[in-house]
Subunit: 291 residues, 4 copies
């Protein structure tokens, strides 16, 4: 006879943000218990400066035929009483990601590989680029590729095409995998805290173009990368992940670029994973990144 296995229903995440006050944990966990939900993990954080409370609860339903998302309606009075903004996320639905890239493909190929092999819990729904270069690699990974060039400097109409493309693919997240165009506020406003960019420096060092050249010229001993949500202000959005690698006087600019690429790929993949696992809450210019 085999062991009786615990059957786990769909995993659901509840993200909650409100002002801190006594009794939040008891109230939320009490609600979930009454509704037949099993808490798998709880993480929370209080920002002492602002008194803001953040919580991530991952739960399954005791009755696997019931959906965790269906609790959203019943939770409304609790959320209202707490003055909380709330999000329920179904962890077993594979999220859909749009990747924008320019000429370079190291981050793009890394994401495609990770999504394909299950390393990243995502489906790359489409790849779009202002350059035609990535058609072949996308075909190999069986992901739709769209060349959306900027014609005669008319960025506005290119962005309009991108927004329509992304809408038609029902995408949860937009990833800028070394997309070297500055996006308009109009574009960014479509995806609040839903665009992740990789910047090839340790922000706030070396904003703008050519951060590796700047790092080389300054003679720094560490080169880094920063994954962040895109906001209207360039390179100023909430930071999700950062990492570094040592460099020395021996490293030419080309060597720095090469070493930086490895850091970019790892840092971007880490940030995307955290977002897709519903482990990131952005507020003001900061993030809570649950472990």
């Amino acid at each position: 006879m085999s062991d009786p296995k615990v059957v786990r229903g769909a995993r659901t995440v509840l993200l909650l943000m409100c002002q801190d006050r006594p009794g939040i944990v008891a109230r939320v966990s009490g609600f979930l218990f009454e509704q037949g939900a099993n808490i798998e993990s709880v993480d929370q954080h209080v920002d002492r400066d602002t008194g803001r409370f953040f919580q991530r609860i991952e739960f399954t339903m005791t009755d696997p035929s019931r959906s965790g998302l269906a609790l959203a309606g019943a939770f409304e009075p609790v959320a209202e009483a707490l003055g909380a903004s709330v999000e329920f996320r179904d962890l077993d639905r594979v999220p859909r990601v749009a990747v924008l890239a320019s000429k370079q493909n190291h981050c793009l190929v890394d994401l495609l590989y990770r999504a394909r092999t299950g390393d990243l819990p995502a489906e790359i729904a489409l790849v779009a680029s202002n350059h035609p270069d990535h058609a072949e690699v996308c075909r190999f990974f069986e992901v739709p590729f769209h060349h959306v060039p900027i014609v005669a400097g008319d960025k506005a109409s290119q962005e309009k095409q991108l927004v329509e493309l992304i809408a038609s693919h029902e995408v949860d997240l937009v990833v800028l995998a070394r997309y070297m165009q500055i996006l308009s506020d109009w574009f960014i406003d479509h995806y609040p805290n839903r665009i992740i960019n990789i910047h090839h420096s340790l922000l706030p060092s070396f904003v703008g173009a050519q951060p590796y050249r700047q790092a080389y010229d300054r003679g720094v001993k560490l080169v880094g990368a920063t994954a962040h949500y895109v906001t209207a202000e360039l390179d100023q959005g909430p930071i999700i992940a950062q990492d570094v690698a040592p460099i020395s006087h021996r490293d030419s600019l080309e060597e720095i670029v090469r070493k930086g690429k490895d850091i970019e790929r790892l840092t971007l993949a880490r940030a995307v994973r955290r977002h897709l696992e519903a482990k990131v809450i952005a507020y003001e210019n900061r993030t809570v990144v649950f472990p």
Copy 2:
């Protein structure tokens, strides 16, 4: 007029370990809410292999005249119902630490400095050594020093003296700061999961004596240190913290030792801090180390 400050009562930690089952969070947080406790932070973990549930709750009392520790009695029925082993820890009482050292003093001095400057939330209650060397530095840091030599190979009576010394100073934790004597089971049994040792390798590599020599001979490219609870089996106790530094063929054995010392100091201090903040739960041969 000054701002009305939120008065926080004494911070208390509740550590809890039991078999996982639905409703634990709701039950424990409900209890605390009813008792007038404000939850400051919750961390928990489930070991999927064993189904064991671990929780750390940090709370304050709404009425600052009440002690968090006083909830221990009222919690007993809850603990019993959950089959949980439970510990209440008063975070505002400064814990008392005994440090054992041999000839080298880099870890000892680091701990003395950190405790003195408040970097480490501890009072070094005493330092004991089988060598007489540390009297002067202990006098400077105003910490009692006891030279407890091993006379004529009679380790048993030296250990007896150590146990009596430690008992007379009402110590919460024993730290082996490069104490190079192997302790008997009899000694160790006095302090279950209450002795932290720093081993100068990345365990399980290079157990036993002269790990740096072994590392040098093997030609490894990273040198490390491991802080762990001491158990009867040498260098086999639950690991709390590990760290590494890069080395190269240029590093002589002396250079490796020098680089290693920095790693030892940081790793030991990190492990001791985590323990004193009641963030470590050891079980079987593992630890949960809450962030």
Copy 3:
């Protein structure tokens, strides 16, 4: 008018190993100067334990029509006088690499991508596997793939096929990209210090099979990878590169494997690059890895 560019002839590396004695640098650099070679970089090392001297000199010829390799003959008397073993390597000839893989492809794909994009100065001459899985990805990267199964447990004849394959492709280096078969001494003897393996632990921890499982069971807080030359003794060869990533009690075995894969890829690529750039000298059970 454009700037007059300095024309650099082919870059050549001279690797030299002998007993240390006064005057080696003067003698070797004097020889190169007389022969019309410009020294681009010099790195050297003396092992104080054994008195052994190691040197790597990278040079170009003032007359770019002359080959640096052609100096090898004229250097013989110098080498003889010094009792030195010597190797001349043409850095502008792209070295040819054979990659052996089993089922997993994360290291294989990483190497293919790096070689294709010029990140790694190599041509992957062939990929061989005891599993048929990698045909498609090799076709995409336009690299010959050979499925060389082990038939009826007859490893000897499979190894014979591998040796013939490798010979027919004129390969400089064999890389085991998570090739999970133990190779015979017969195979290994064909490629002394010419086979690089990636082991998924921080050697000497966790030799043998399932190092991640061992790491998980031991409760370590760092997971690592080791790239080393393959010798007759399993997992005991000279170490070229090691790296680690932090893990915690939250990491399931699956998470550890996932985090480990990133470390494996980076560590293997780093070791292969160093070897191909003629920056590694192995002796006894150690390596000199020039920066």
Copy 4:
């Protein structure tokens, strides 16, 4: 009978900087060989952007009664022919260091401890501070302490006192161990590339005051420190060493400061060691830091 030991004469370092041209290595090593010097190590570097050549040669004299420094005169024609700037440094003379500190003492105590225990090859010749706080700890380490207050905002006369103090102690290097006063150009000009400062951020991020506060406000995920030579422009001097530690949303400003202190101590000590071992050459706004 004991082994015949190789007697090594005083170790001397020759640092050399000139425009790159063929034959430098041969010429310099030839000179040393003829003079009866044994080269212990050679490191060199060519900056491809500027064509500048840098070399560090460590040597001993075959005749231990002769001084390596005595070669300086005979080397002058060689240096002139190469257009090289040259420095001979006696590695066996313990260099003398002045440490300036303000209120905080973590870097100061770390340097005192390292110098006392031989971890750092230096004698702390004096400690000076604009605060009186460090008298006791300096007495313990038997190092002269001078309280040099800034009276009535008259920084100029305080700096004059510091310069006289430093002169009277025949100091090789001035270390700013979290000295929080901005030094005048007049002061700095006394010690070109002879003042090392530790800045508590990863420059060029967060120049000026309160870098930890800035890092906290920006929500970065790594906190760092930078050791650099002090030049007239604040926080802009050539960088010698940098290091980082991970932080998260859980870290209060106090926690960031605490974690940062460990990075500051290690980074400053590393930079000071490299300087004292004659392994750093600064030029323009950069450094060559030999391994």
